[in-house]
Symmetry: C2
Subunit: 205 residues, 2 copies
């Protein structure tokens, strides 16, 4: 792609560094900015820059926060004996949207993935293990992706804490609500039979 302006080329190149944004999309976005008043671009760059430099991570759960201890961790109405372990703050947002969990979270910041060079020490696993060692936690809920990497991470953490008095659970895997059985994959269907639940429990939600 040949550009008639170095400034434009630079902006497109930087924009196309973002995941899922190719050169063409980047050009479309940048030309859109040029058609809009300058204030729009100012607002965008200002918001991104402030966010990147000033955002904090909760010192307890590692969730993104504007203060030292995030709103969830500092909420006295939440049960601090149950911790839900997730990969990412998007998972926190997704679970919060369901309004079905009133405990705290612990954001790992990823999952163990040797292929991508991510080992246990790149994640916030130590702080989680320390919380368990302190003895205040009664239950850990693993809510990681159901992939090889997710399972590896679950198991790694499980090994670190199995000598302590803590109950560990994992979110249920099974047929999605509203799905037809015939379209479900074999592994999910198989697991949903092995891990069947008392019928009365299914009436609760």
């Amino acid at each position: 792609m040949e550009f008639s302006s170095k400034l434009l080329e630079n902006a497109v190149n930087e924009m196309s560094q973002l995941p899922g944004i190719g050169k063409r999309t980047a050009l479309r976005l940048v030309l859109h900015m040029l058609r809009q008043p300058k204030e729009h671009t100012n607002a965008l760059t200002e918001a991104l820059s402030t966010m990147r430099h000033q955002v904090k991570f909760c010192k307890s759960c590692n969730n993104i926060s504007d203060v030292e201890l995030c709103e969830i961790c500092s909420n006295p109405n939440r049960n601090e004996e149950i911790i839900c372990v997730v990969e990412d703050i998007r998972d926190v947002m997704a679970i919060e949207n369901t309004s079905s969990f009133k405990g705290l979270y612990h954001v790992l910041g990823g999952k163990i993935s040797p292929m991508d060079g991510i080992g246990p020490h790149d994640l916030n696993i130590e702080t989680l293990v320390n919380k368990v060692k302190e003895g205040k936690v009664k239950e850990l809920i693993f809510a990681l992706s159901s992939t090889m990497e997710g399972d590896t991470t679950n198991f790694y953490i499980y090994r670190q804490i199995q000598d302590y008095n803590v109950f560990t659970s994992t979110i249920a895997r099974g047929i999605s609500v509203g799905d037809e059985l015939e379209y479900a994959d074999e592994i999910t269907l198989g697991r949903s039979i092995v891990n069947r639940i008392p019928f009365e429990n299914s009436l609760k939600i």
Copy 2:
């Protein structure tokens, strides 16, 4: 979507103002920035801001440029008697990539579209008409989209200049190279028969 941080929310909101970027995509992009070193965000915001404030539009053709007269307009090897009229600088880049045109361009900055409130006076039509009036232009090639708005714009400009001694042409519409006839739409196929060309001409490219 509930955010645990106002700064994050702000950044996501600004990002999702861009066309084709929804809230979820914006969140994904912003979280990606958070995982990258701060320098990456600095480079992006700096490039966008400099581009938005310092980029110039060529005073002759309205193409984006870093200098007053763009590289194409100031190139003595280009034929300034032929002007290709396009909507957008992306069209200039697309035509330049084909290396099949050695004249100059004129970027209108859009097309007449009453539905979107864009009239002739919102576009760079007057400067184009003035160029024709000065008598240096021998041919105008209309290379606008083949839509109602494109055709309206072509016709509007044509009416403004028809009394001057200038030849007007429009880019060929027809079956794309490599396309099967049976999949072509009727209008395109019909036009390609009406506007058929001598066979020898098709051997040239």
